[in-house]
Symmetry: C2
Subunit: 122 residues, 2 copies
């Protein structure tokens, strides 16, 4: 069972649905899943724990972080292998900005969808 593929969607009931993301030089740059991942990293301070907390394979989470870091002017996440506590992951200021920009974008989409649906039910 592949859960729901695209998280930002909402798969529950009939109605108008949508999904937004931001493209970068290499394709997808910021999307719903990536933002949730960033928030979990902030919460846990560890990529391993962040991934597991959202039932995502570490490999996949690492790829996403790597993809974001490569496309951003400044990295969104600082990773440390070894050191105090074995290392860890930390969301940078640029990462925080990305989170809030996308959150707003996503919020606006929800409002847009509600408007569109209402428009048709006149």
């Amino acid at each position: 069972m592949p859960k729901s593929s695209h998280a930002g969607a909402g798969r529950t009931k009939p109605g108008f649905r949508g999904r937004v993301w931001i493209d970068g030089p290499e394709g997808t740059f910021i999307g719903y899943g990536r933002v949730v991942l960033l928030e979990r990293i902030r919460e846990h301070g560890s990529l391993t724990k962040a991934a597991r907390s959202m039932e995502m394979a570490y490999r996949h989470a690492w790829d996403l972080v790597d993809s974001m870091n490569r496309q951003a002017k400044e990295p969104f996440v600082e990773l440390a292998a070894g050191g105090k506590g074995g290392g860890g992951a930390r969301v940078t200021a640029a990462g925080e900005r990305a989170i809030s920009v996308f959150r707003k974008f996503h919020e606006d989409l929800q409002a847009f969808l509600k408007r569109e649906e209402k428009k048709l039910k006149l």
Copy 2:
């Protein structure tokens, strides 16, 4: 080569991207690809030709039409196996309505995306 998976997206350059669709009882009901398919059916009067014209496997096209017909109150496409010219496919009035509703929806999304992108470039 899997082409571009989700057509309604626009995969070209960096920026704000989005995709919309309408869910029905069984999941996806109307989306970009489905609407293009309906338009091609209208144009060709044949499911086979419609599918090939957009480089889609007949099997897949048939599944999409079947899915829409099952979820709609009234079928979007009338199919005829055998008969004059071997049969054919015809988009119904309900199908035409679905096309224009979704086209508007999709159009509104493009405008929404432009607004969002502009909003950030102040």
